[in-house]
């Protein structure tokens, strides 16, 4: 579904992405893991077209994303830190997104209901706490039932209840055969979710493995143990 080929991106001297090639297919739930500053968010942003790569190319369903901007209506994106116009209320933001996406999309308001955003509808974005912002971001990402979900640190800043709701929702969407891409460095929470792991370090992709493969290779059941095993070996 998403194929990135030899993508390279530098910010000044820093190589944020160094010759990264990834293939993501339907029905997979991929964990993008790696230490801080390893290029996870940059990779996600290049897939979304928010960051333009220096070389290499990315295709979505066979179309180069540089020329086919329409592909983004099949992606739900939850940013790491949701930044929204300060003087808009939650209601405004959600209405605006609905307006922009058009009427064709089937609305999925499950998260809207379970996060109880209805009661916060008139709150301005600048007055929101980090956690509530994350709830808004999550709601927007799932709202248009997209075929691909890209979640950048989805549970950071969420309280345990909300985080459980979100994980349950991700599980549900995964069962529907959607492609889910999650970046995180809290590995323990991904244990029962992911089917594949991409490990990045210093802008390079070190491996892309099936989780069972990874488990049998390292002999560890827990994901964070398995990754740690790999990190110490390198």
């Amino acid at each position: 579904m998403i194929i990135a080929t030899n993508v390279t991106k530098s910010f000044g001297k820093l190589k944020a992405l160094d010759d990264v090639s990834v293939t993501c297919n339907k029905g997979e739930c991929i964990a993008l893991v790696g230490p801080n500053g390893s290029g996870k968010t940059t990779l996600v942003k290049t897939i979304l077209g928010m960051v333009v790569q220096d070389s290499g190319f990315i295709t979505f369903n066979g179309n180069n994303i540089l020329h086919h901007w329409k592909y983004r209506d099949q992606i739900g994106y939850m940013p790491q830190t949701g930044r929204y116009p300060d003087n808009m209320t939650i209601g405004h933001v959600i209405d605006m997104m609905k307006d922009i996406r058009g009427k064709e999309a089937i609305l999925d308001e499950e998260l809207f209901a379970s996060f109880d955003l209805q009661s916060l509808l008139n709150k301005r974005m600048r007055t929101l706490s980090g956690g509530t912002r994350q709830k808004v971001s999550a709601t927007l990402a799932f709202l248009f039932s997209p075929a691909v979900l890209i979640l950048d640190e989805p549970t950071a800043g969420l309280d345990p209840v909300a985080s459980e709701i979100l994980k349950e929702k991700i599980r549900k969407e995964k069962k529907k055969g959607k492609l889910v891409l999650i970046t995180s460095h809290i590995l323990s929470e991904l244990d029962d979710l992911v089917t594949q792991v991409i490990y990045m370090q210093d802008g390079k992709m070190l491996f892309h493995k099936n989780i069972d493969e990874l488990r049998s290779e390292t002999g560890e059941e827990k994901l964070n143990r398995a990754i740690a095993h790999f990190m110490t070996k390198n």
Partner: protein, 255 residues
């Protein structure tokens, strides 16, 4: 694209600064006309407002607005929208609200007191200058990542177009006083939209005699139909070129 323009416009209107700017223009324009017993004198004072205040407010407000919309832009870029249409909608929203503010604030008083060629030329120039400086501001804002730097650049650009450019031209004129520079001067004027606006208005007012021999050359060129057309084209280039350049830059910008 229409949808984004709608959101930009409502946001600008909610901002109130443009509203205050409109009221300010309205009050000053009215008082200029009522303070002077001669309508022409009122127009001359108003001319200075158009040539200095309008570019200043347009460029500073637009630059700050673009920086403050960083979140809004970021949100839109991850949506199924073309980058070009996001940027052009932002431009359209800013340009039309500032032009509208000028049209209401200065246009109405001018039309009440001076509904003739001079008045119309003045309104046209004010609107064009508003739009030109929005385009320049957006170019400055897309080039600089840092907000303080961007606003600083906007202020410097305004200084350059309203003050420094004339100083430079005067300096050149004095340095090369022995050469016949009157004709090249006409060309040099096209390099500054504020000067173009000033000359077009002054020539309508028939005070070009005050500008000496250069004024006569200007009158020969700008007084004709082709001259006016050429200067309008030059002013449109001042909108199109910065806008084209900033759109190109925005298309490849990392957010």
């Amino acid at each position: 694209m229409k949808k984004i323009i709608k959101y930009v416009m409502t946001d600008i209107l909610r901002n109130r600064i443009v509203l205050i700017y409109t009221v300010f223009l309205f009050i000053t324009s009215l008082s200029m006309f009522s303070l002077e017993d001669n309508v022409n004198k009122g127009l001359l004072s108003l001319l200075n407002i158009i040539l200095i205040i309008v570019p200043l407010v347009s460029i500073i407000f637009s630059t700050i607005y673009v920086y403050n919309s960083a979140e809004f832009i970021e949100l839109l870029v991850s949506q199924p929208l073309r980058r070009k249409s996001i940027w052009l909608s932002l431009f359209t929203g800013l340009a039309s609200s500032l032009a509208l503010a000028f049209l209401v604030g200065t246009g109405i008083p001018v039309l009440i007191y001076q509904a003739n060629n001079i008045g119309f030329m003045m309104i046209a120039m004010g609107i064009l200058l508003s739009i030109i400086f929005v385009a320049i501001a957006m170019l400055a804002a897309v080039k600089m990542r840092d907000k303080a730097k961007g606003i600083g650049a906007a202020i410097l650009l305004w200084l350059y177009f309203t003050l420094l450019f004339d100083g430079l031209v005067l300096f050149l004129l004095f340095q090369f006083a022995d050469y016949p520079l009157e004709k090249p001067m006409v060309g040099v004027t096209a390099l500054n939209p504020v000067d173009l606006g000033r000359i077009l208005i002054l020539l309508q007012m028939d005070v070009s005699a005050m500008m000496g021999y250069t004024g006569a050359v200007f009158k020969d060129f700008f007084g004709t139909y082709t001259g006016v057309m050429v200067s309008f084209v030059a002013m449109f280039m001042w909108i199109l070129f910065p806008l084209w350049s900033s759109t190109r830059k925005f298309n490849r910008k990392d957010l």
